[in-house]
Symmetry: C2
Subunit: 146 residues, 2 copies
């Protein structure tokens, strides 16, 4: 299975959030070609500002694996993680993070700058399906401002 | 009720973690002199490295209040929050954070440096019962190394 396939799964999760009136962000955690955790933003539904796609997908993956570290796994997420999610990904020791689009307002780089908040072994990639993810987020906020 | 009283409650939470073999860290969220959320570290029990005292106390407070922001509340925690918890506290717009002891290894300042990761209106205080908190954490790790 390709990165493209799994980012599509993350985009599908983002679509679920959108349909519920949530900011459209989705994530999947993958190990050995299998999805071991899924999540989409549920901040409004749970009235919990920590209920981000990545947190939900990570907790699902920890539960599924019965493990608190995921060095062999990849997280696919449709938007650059925020500081909270970057901190959670640090603790998880996740092997690889692929995020579709940058988030110049709330992405982790806004606070950490050039200093990586992740585990030294974590690989970071970005750009895959970025335009599709951003256009979903922009459409959401444009509709909300009306 | 005084800061001293609520930090004692956070230390009591840390003690609960210690009794379960967890890193001894505890937190309470307080609004109008009332505890609206409690938490202690449950990383081992839940095999979830995001199950920090602050995350659990915040989610409990959001649930109790039915609100996703806590600008009138104070978080008392026995150790300096990590990057993940600092990010969660940013989203919560919490009014005030009181942490007992610094955490030079995993505290948020290690990554953010002088740049505050919190909401601009959030007040930060530290030092209250710091020695007691640190001696509990040090004793825990000393016992584990034996």
């Amino acid at each position: 299975m390709s990165d493209e396939h799994f980012m599509q799964q993350a985009l599908n999760e983002a679509r679920k959030a959108q349909e519920k009136g949530e900011v459209p962000i989705g994530a999947v955690v993958v190990m050995n070609g299998q999805i071991i955790g899924r999540g989409h933003n549920q901040v409004e539904m749970l009235t919990d500002c920590t209920a981000h796609a990545e947190m939900i997908a990570l907790t699902a993956a920890f539960n599924y694996m019965g493990a608190k570290y995921l060095p062999e796994a990849t997280l696919y997420v449709t938007l650059e993680p925020c500081v909270m999610c970057a901190g959670a990904l640090y603790w998880s020791k996740i092997g690889r993070i692929v995020y579709a689009a940058p988030d110049d307002k709330n992405g982790y780089r806004r606070v950490t700058g050039e200093k990586s908040p992740f585990h030294p072994k974590t690989k970071i990639e970005t750009g895959l399906r970025g335009e599709e993810s951003l256009s979903m987020v922009k459409a959401f906020f444009a509709a909300r401002r009306k």
